[in-house]
């Protein structure tokens, strides 16, 4: 039994990505003469993963259901821009950011509902719909609503959350003391990972996503209300995207309406790298987190690896290319 479950594990893409990630970390650690696997660097990498990690989870659940969401960055951007603007105008959130987060979640939810309504009601190709809504939401935010950057005037509640740390690690670099914070927001990433994993594996809703991704007609015949499931899915993804966007505002202390444009183009390859199938029905939180980790580690080690600035894009592209090649070859092997 144990042997066969191990064999099954080796058939999974996640397994390989995990090994690649570990191997790459070790390689980089050695190449950078021991500067990667140290607490302060790990703190930095974890912090850099928070927002992208939550976005990746959004993208993952949609992809498992056989969809393809291009609009979540646009939703997040509109949600946090509106939310911070409202908070600022009303003088909210100077002590704690909860109101802002609730607002962003609600706005994200409403925008997600719009996606969900179109996708579930008209049974349209999700990539096309979300391409449309992405353009539409961005246009709404920057054109009609004329969202502006909010920087130093950002309510203090947001800034404080972004600066709050769980623990601080101090070390001596050269002849000076350098301290690194482990951001509180990492908790949110962990919560979301556990929650997503739980929903996907332990609830009928999660199984519905896999079932729909595997065979939508069968799922309908099996008794799932596919329409409802999809509607809820996109609405919730919208809400979570809004939340993640708000986290970004806190972490950067600025609300820049344009900041997330094009984000989907880096998140989606990462999710695929983590073993999710673009055809639906495949993918796991573990794989996604590993892939996200891999990418974050690489992009935060370029300087340490002495890769010239002008070649960093190329290096990034090649890593992604190799990664998806590995996962594609692995998928091919598995499917015979």
């Amino acid at each position: 039994m144990n042997k066969s479950s191990f064999k099954r594990m080796t058939k999974r893409t996640e397994f390989y990505i995990f090994i690649v990630m570990i191997a790459l970390c070790i390689v980089i650690h050695i190449a950078s003469s021991g500067q990667l696997l140290v607490p302060d660097k790990i703190f930095t990498i974890l912090r850099a993963m928070v927002v992208d990690g939550i976005f990746a989870l959004c993208s993952l659940v949609v992809m498992i259901s056989g969809g393809f969401d291009l609009s979540f960055p646009a939703i997040a951007a509109l949600a946090y821009s509106l939310s911070t603007t409202i908070c600022l105008n009303n003088g909210w959130c100077n002590d704690n950011p909860i109101a802002g987060f609730i607002l962003a979640i609600v706005i994200g939810f409403v925008l997600g509902m719009f996606n969900g309504w179109i996708i579930s009601n008209f049974k349209l190709n999700t990539m096309l719909v979300t391409l449309g809504t992405q353009t539409f939401f961005t246009g709404l935010s920057m054109g009609l609503l004329k969202m502006k950057e909010i920087t130093s005037t950002l309510p203090a509640g947001f800034k404080n959350l972004g600066k709050a740390s769980l623990t601080t690690y101090t070390t001596t670099v050269g002849n000076r003391q350098v301290s690194s914070d482990l951001s509180v927001t990492i908790i949110f990433l962990i919560i979301f990972c556990i929650l997503t994993s739980f929903i996907l594996n332990k609830t009928m809703f999660g199984r519905a996503l896999y079932a729909i991704g595997g065979n939508e007609v069968s799922a309908e015949r099996a008794g799932y209300n596919v329409k409802k499931v999809k509607f809820i899915l996109y609405a919730v993804v919208g809400a979570v995207a809004g939340f993640a966007g708000m986290l970004r505002v806190c972490l950067t202390s600025q609300s820049v309406p344009k900041a997330l444009i094009g984000k989907e183009m880096t998140i989606i390859p990462a999710v695929i790298l983590g073993g999710a199938s673009i055809f639906g029905g495949e993918g796991s939180v573990f794989g996604t987190v590993c892939a996200m980790g891999l990418i974050t580690v690489v992009s935060n080690s370029m300087l340490l690896l002495n890769i010239g600035t002008e070649w960093q894009n190329l290096f990034n592209g090649i890593i992604i290319l190799i990664g998806i090649t590995v996962s594609a070859v692995q998928a091919k092997r598995r499917n015979g």
Partner: protein, 495 residues
Amino acid sequence: MSEYLLEMSGICKSFAGVHALDHVDFKVRPGKVMCLAGENGCGKSTLVKIISGVYTKDEGEVTFEGKKISKITPAEATQLGIQVIYQDLSIFPNLTVMENLAINSEITAGKKLVNKKRWEATAKEALSKIGYNIDLHARMGELSVADKQLVAICRALLFNAKLIIMDEPTTALTKKEVEALFKTVRQLRDSGIAIMFISHKTEEIFEISDDVCIMRNGQNVYSGPTAELTREKYTYYLTGRNLEPDYFVPKNISEEPILKVENLTLKDKRCKNVSFELKKGEILGVTGLLGSGRTELALALFGLEKIESGRIELKGKEVKISSPMAAQKAKIGYVPEDRLTEGLCLQQPIADNITLASLKRLSNSLSIIRKKDIIADANIWKEKFAIKTDDVRKFASTLSGGNQQKIVLSKWLSNDLDVLILNGPTVGVDVGAKQDIHHLVHELANEGLAVIMISDDLPEVVVNCNRAIVMKDGLIVGEMTSEDLTEENILEIIR
């Protein structure tokens, strides 16, 4: 309370002008097996979908257990006790066997959370209903068609169904599995469940059914007990003509073999040490159990499987067939077993599908091609095969299964071939069309074509082949020529 479990009267349904169902009356008695038979495209699947709530009827009345039903959803149908095993099986290829078995009942039970133990118990219970054994944690997509089918059947049995509908459940099963399935069906029937059964195989209908309903062109032409029906009458009702078994009489077998396979072993070892010869004018049957490697053998000859050792000779010369293109050049054609995924471009015109493998012939030296020629070429085949359509420019998806199969056949027959490999050429094809196809293959063989016919349908092999080989576990375990080529002999070897 009426004596019928399900009563349908005057059912009409049309799709964009096509009358799929035209005032059909249909009744099922509880605790009986009801067979629904009819030519391809006569509306059987459509009727099933109306019962199960997938389609809504245009006209007519449905009564289930004496209650009139106006409009139901698939979920409501399940609750009423109607279970359908669809032609496409409705399984989840990405989930495990256990999940596939348990998921439906979990949903119906309105469960919100997953309990692996309960799922496993449910799955085991389902399998035990027909005494079938399989790794519960295997991925569904990796199973063979037969295993998928059995899982789907087990899943349906889980429900306290009053009516189980099976749409062509035996197409992908071999004799042995069909027997197992029938045992289950009888068992269910005896426990008071009504079974509705669609099949194109005459033998099966007479073996299993209590009542028969025969449809033609969207109307029912016969309804009543099977006992009152003879086979002749049955085929007559079905096709409107009298059909005699049309045994293949080879007239024109060449001296020298055109194809010679020696010690062929495939890379993945699904086929080992296979040797056989094929002469012009022959129809060579290849049969065996599921997973016996017949498909792989055919694919190897068509350049889609990697060969490890052994040689293939065509007209005395060794050839390397590395791709379908090479096979076409060597004048070998292949009609795949799964027409939907391997044979057809459903969302393209019928004409383009028919001419897909002969574009080279239809285009000039600049590879310029004219739609007119495509249509003209397609129309020839439409006439020849009596493909049921008014316009070859319509999409292939508008045809029924049997007519789609005819397209796949004509795609290769329109090529100039030496060897034609047919893999399950009449799967899901009605008797009438089957006869047409067989007749045509006979003619072609007698004109000098060498044919390999892979089939599970033993009568088909016996009637149409002058020679047959039987495979088991990738090995050839028996060869028979016309005298000893009988169903009994084949079955003996397989067992």
